[in-house]
Structure formats: C-alpha cells, structure tokens
Symmetry: C2
C-alpha cells in the first residue's frame, strides 16, 4: 500500500516564503491526491522490505520477551542494540564501540540533542549550503545563527570553510560546530571527496573544531562504495549521527549518536529530560532484524532499487528539461538538486507545479538565509519507477512554459541562463 499523504511536504512548505497556513493547507490537500507525482518527501521505499520477515520479527519480540519490550528502558538505549549498531557502522568502515553510542528517536532527535547540548541563542553553526531541512529546524529551535559554506560536485568547499573561519576569527568569534552530511548529501545529492575529508579533518585539529557528521545515506551508494568517515579520521573531534531509517525503516524511529564519552554522558542526561528512553519495543525489533535477518542483502536490495530510480530520473531529466536547467548527478541515496535560470522562483512555482500534478521541495527550505530561490530538490526514492518519468515530463512541460513566459516578458533582456550541468557543476547555487 502507498501512503495517501506526503508528511514531508508539509514541513518543507512551512519554510516556503510568504505562504499563509491556510494556503499551505490548501496546497497539501491537492498535493496529497494520488494523481500528483511527489518528488517532495525524502521517504525510503519501505515496500522493498520483506514484510513477511518483518512480521515474524515483531511477533517473535512480543512472544519471546513481551514484558521487557513493553516496559521502560534505560536512557542510553539497550546494550544489545548498541552492539549491533556498531556492526552496522563497521559494515561501512566507521569505527565505534557499544559504550560510545546513545540510541535516539531517529537521526532527528540526535540533531536536536546535539543542538540543545551545545547551542546557546546566537551561537554560530557552520553548515553546507544547501543542507538538511531537519538539521536547520533543530538548530533554529535553539536559535543558532547558521552560516552556510558553499558546495560543489565534490561536497562542501573546504577552502571556503577556511575563509569563513578566518572571517569569524577576525570578528573574534568561533563556530560552535560544523554540521556536515558528507555522504550523498541531502539535498544536494553529492558526496565530500576523499581529499576534502582529509583537509576537513586536518582543519578540525588545527582550528580546534567540533564536527557533527550526519550519515543517513553512507550505505546507499549505488555501487556499494564507501568513503572514509570523518569519525575514522579525527574521532575525538566528531559527533557521529547514524540511523536505520534508510537501511531498515523510518517507522521504528531508531537512530544513534556516537560521541566522545564526556559528550555522550551529557547527551544521555538531555535525552532522559527529553523523552526518558527510546522504545524498548522498536529497539528490540531492530535488534532482532539485525541479529536474525540478512540485513546486508536488504541494503543491497535498497541500493539496487534506488539506482534504478535514480537512472530513470536522470534519463528523464536529460530528455525533458529545457536548456538552462542544470542538476546534480547522485551516485547514491535519494536526491537530485535542480537549478533553474534566474527569473524563475521555485517557491512561487510550487503551486503551479502541483496544478501540473508534480511536487518538489523549493530550494529555500534548505537554507537558513533565504537563498535557494532558483533551486529545487527532487527526491526519487519513493515514487514508483513508472511514475518518475511521468513526473519529470510534467515538470519539464511546466518549465518550458515558464521559460517562454520569462522570455515573453523580458525579451532579449531575459535573465542569462547558465549552461546545462553534466554532473560537474561548480556551484550548487544559493
């Protein structure tokens, strides 16, 4: 069964400029209709899971130890689960030890706890531009002053990070931490190159930086490749965030933080003040999934599903997009980051797009500073393969119309369009 609503769209649209709550609600009422192809929500394709296996797992958890599964647990999360999550980290080459981990309610609670632990109102946090809307949400709710570091096809431009650090130093300020999603970044769909990882690790040492490494997608490379984690390079300077939302299922709301001990202890206290403990039931389901099911093969199945969907979208974009539109070429995970010519505003365009029965997330959702008006995130992980092409065709038609309109209005003064990207775009906009 498919979802009849797109819960993500609501969150993103709330960040879209100038829409009232009732306009947003009206938009959703339309966007959640089945005839709309939604590239908005960053939702995994849970239909790729073996549901018989999941049913057997959840039933066995209750049958074998129901009283524990239904009871309160400890604030750090179950040791049995943490041990298995360390195996998941090792599968990706990320070092970790059971004791370092705090189990969280998905990666989002991890980001919330980190923000609550470190951010006082007005503190500066550096993040890729664009970056994860939920990370921005957690930071904004603690009144962080988020400054973006531009990206290109090789991820965060670490030389520009250095410039930002210099500027801050000149003002006598320091960033509280640097927030980064190095692998198959949300929303940009690019990964930090190996050279830049080493350079960033080096900077962490020489400039005394704390790094928050958010890694939901590291195991979803289309070819099963992995990059060296920042945690493997400078473990004492990294707070690492993991999740099973994309390698198993978001519905179990299970993520984790791996952090140096003194930070871990503070985070456990904050988590207890926040929600006491993670669910024993969902923890034990994840444990049993990892302990008894072929989870590595399941991850390969996800990789294959998303590879097919990505290729479908990229092929369709190449066919359908008018000249002047560019996009990134992901090698893993869920996202394509689209840039339109100046003169088109993706926030303004969303309502029209939904009338054309296709939805996306406007780029402004991924910036703290109002940038992103010429960008959009297209997520290909959730729609069925055959609907992806359909959705891109609709988007292409709309953008052709819009460009014609721009030219009709501005004539020869039409805003300069940029050359189409080939996956080597040297700036992801903003």
């Amino acid at each position: 069964m498919r979802l009849d609503t797109d819960p993500y769209l609501e969150r993103y649209a709330a960040r879209v400029r100038g829409m009232s709550a009732s306009e947003i609600r009206a938009l959703f009422a339309v966007a959640s209709r089945p005839e709309v192809v939604s590239f908005a929500g960053g939702m995994p394709d849970t239909s790729a899971l073996d549901m018989d296996a999941v049913e057997a797992v959840v039933a066995a958890v209750i049958r074998e130890d129901g009283a524990t599964a239904l009871q309160y647990g400890g604030g750090q999360g179950r040791a049995q689960l943490r041990e298995l999550l360390v195996e998941v980290m090792h599968h990706e080459g990320v070092p970790g030890h059971t004791d370092d981990l705090v189990v969280t309610v998905g990666g989002q609670q991890a980001l919330e706890l980190i923000a609550k632990c470190f951010v006082d109102p007005g503190d500066i946090v550096l993040a890729e531009g664009p970056t994860y809307v939920g990370g921005l949400g957690a930071l904004a709710s603690h009144q962080a002053d988020v400054r973006h570091v531009p990206m290109d096809a090789d991820g965060m431009q670490v030389d520009l990070l250095e410039d930002v650090l210099d500027e801050l130093e000149a003002e006598g300020r320091r960033p509280t931490f640097v927030y980064t999603i190095p692998n198959h970044q949300n929303p940009a769909g690019v990964s930090l190159s190996v050279d830049r990882r080493h350079r960033l690790a080096e900077l962490a040492e020489t400039r005394d930086l704390l790094l928050v490494e958010d890694n939901p997608y590291g195991l979803l490379d289309f070819d099963g490749k992995t990059f060296p984690s920042l945690r493997s390079l400078v473990p004492d300077r990294v707070i690492y965030v993991g999740t099973v939302s994309k390698t198993f299922a978001p519905g179990v709301r299970t993520g984790w933080i791996a952090a140096p001990r003194p930070i871990r202890d503070k985070l456990i206290l904050l988590r207890e003040a926040g929600d006491l403990c993670p669910s024993n039931l969902t923890q034990m389901i994840v444990e049993r999934w990892l302990a008894t099911q072929p989870w590595r093969e399941q991850i390969e199945r996800f990789q294959a599903v998303y590879r097919t969907k990505a290729h479908t979208m990229l092929r369709a974009l190449a066919h359908e997009m008018p000249a002047g539109i560019s996009w990134t070429v992901p090698t893993g995970a869920f996202y394509v980051w689209l840039t339109v010519p100046r003169g088109i505003d993706t926030s303004d365009l969303l309502a029209k797009a939904i009338n054309h029965r296709v939805a996306y997330v406007p780029g402004r959702g991924f910036y703290a500073d109002g940038a992103g008006g010429e960008q959009a995130r297209l997520c290909f992980s959730y729609p069925e393969v055959e609907r992806i092409e359909e959705g891109v065709v609709r988007l292409g038609e709309l953008l052709h119309e819009e460009l014609a309109l721009v030219h009709a209005v501005f004539g020869d003064d039409a805003p300069q369009v940029r050359p189409r990207a080939t996956g080597r775009a040297t700036g992801l906009g903003g």
Copy 2:
C-alpha cells in the same frame, strides 16, 4: 520474565546529593541484583497484559499495512490514533477533540516540548512539592526556576499557591505556568480534592494562569472513580498531558498533548524539530490495541493488580514501621510517600537500604530546591505481591536500627518524632 535492571533508579539516584558517578554505578550494580526488592522504579506491571493479544496486534499491523507502519508519518501524529485517544480521555470524563491532540513520545516528551515552548532561562514555574522527577528534569534542562507549592493529603494547597502568586506579584513577576499532577500524584500518592480543583480553575481565570495538567494515573483509581479534570473546568487555560504508558504499556512510548489551537501549532513545529514524527509502527499498534481489544477491561485489571499491591504495602507498613514514620495512603496508581523523623536522611540511607536488599527513591529527587531529605518514594506497582511484604520488612528493620542509632547518639535530645500519619497528614514534608 522480569527486568534484570531498574532503569529508573539510575535517573533518580543521579539527583541524590553528593554521590559520585562511580559510587552511583556501584550502587546500581548491587541494586539491580535479583535479591534486592526495588520500590524505586515507577514501572507498570506489564506482565498483567494479555501477551497473546499484543502479539496478534503487532503482527496484524505489519501484515495489514506494513509499508505505512514502517514509513515516516506526520508531526502531529496519526488522526486515527488521535481519534481513539480522545475516546480514552472521554472514558475518564476529560473533554477533547481529535484536532486538539499532538501525539508525543510518552508524557515525558510532552513535558519537554511544553518547557521548550514556554520557558526561557530563569522563568518561574510553579509545581507541587514534591513533584515528578521527569518534569523537574525537563524544566531544569530549559533552566526554569521551579518554585514548589506544598501539598497535603488533598493535593496542592491552593491557598498557599495564592500566597506564592501574591509574593511573585509583589516582586513584579509572574509564573510561566503551574505544573500539576492532580490525580494520584507522583510521588505523593494523593489527589487534588474537588473543591481545590474548582478553586484552582477559578484562580487560573482571575490570575491569568496557564496550567499544565499532567495526567498519567487518572484511570488507575483503585475503585474506578474519576475526578473532574482541570481541562473540563477551564479548557482554554490548560495544556493537558496524557499517556498510554500506564493504561497500556510504556514500551510503545506513546503520550499526547491536548492544547488550545495556537499552542498546539507551536508544539507541532517544535516536535518536528525535535524528532520529526512519532513512530507510525507504535502508533498503529496502540490504534489496533484500542480499536480491537477490550482496553477498558484491561484498565480494570490494572486497577485490581495495583489495588492488591497497594493494600499489601500499606498493611506491611502498618506492621513493620517503627513509631515516628508516616506515609500517605494512596487511592490509586503506584506510590506511597514516606516521611522519616528528623535525624535520618533518606539520601544517606539509600546505600544501607540497598545493602539490606531494598531500594527506594530518596525524596530529594522530587524537589528542585534540595528539600525532601526526610522523605522517600516507595513504588509498589512493579514488584510481585509476595516480595512487597519482604521489602517492607527489610526497610522496617533498617529504620528500627537507624532510629536506635539516632537515639543512642542524641539520647534525650533525639529529634522530635512526628505522630504516625493516618492518611490525613497535613503536610507531605520538604
């Protein structure tokens, strides 16, 4: 199967004066041994659940709509669940509408979100003294200045609340809200009288107060009685917190907030920044439990279990406690609040108690201001009936020894002991 650890004890002991982390760890190593009778953890007796029914419910959730159960959901929580939670509220006479509710990760996340929404550092929050340690934790993590209002056997002394309000007004200050657990309060084991509920509601209107009504135990009256909720008296002035932790199971981590619309909308945004959404899986389990199982009968079964356990503890206390010890007489839920004579400090006594193979929570855990040194919370909900008497015998022996020691040291100057309570104590200490 019984739990082999008491996750609650750790949280409480962390609030006990003057213990180092390693002392606390050593204490738990002993306290979690099976030979220790723990009256510490506020854990429901999940073994009273029909596990075959629970197994059937969780399996059916996956079988019938696994792809949705394993997917992300909306930040407010599923409408289907909210509709059923409204029925649970109505069962207790609490008014509510599906749209008013926000589903949370247990009652604790509700308190965290409310604190995050309303409390700036230094803001004054009024709360019963003693009050729920997790409420204090959430408030402390947002740097609230918690002031206590004394209680007696009829709950919060509302006339003293008025005095506190007058004092604050004289200082030109106002409380951000009043936090109260009116039914079978944790830890005091008493309920707010009907007269005082009306008086508190009146005060909320005349003094422009926001009330946070935390109601985990309202359906656990030993005789199935209910009190009028504050929400029923002054709905626009109340943020109501509910949970299924004690009427179904804490392992599903499902609570809710019912709040006036503008507050509800702010809370949904904060919850999305905090953990995106509650687990669809656990929400759908609770839905199916409430929709297909005889949940009202299950609550009656819980009432009977806790009634038996309470009577066992109260009978044992009457037999075993030396003169000078007093306690409250609960008519529902989980807790007896014990007061010892001056000269004995319950924090200092905890290590000895655990050596005597009995554990409790020292009273200081339930005050923000260091009070509670002569109090302890005894929770009877979790230990098996036959072990409750055993535990009280051990505690009685210890207190006899301690009182002898106090008298040996002080002789005739021994601190005055107070008369034994008959459930009509006129002050619960602090």
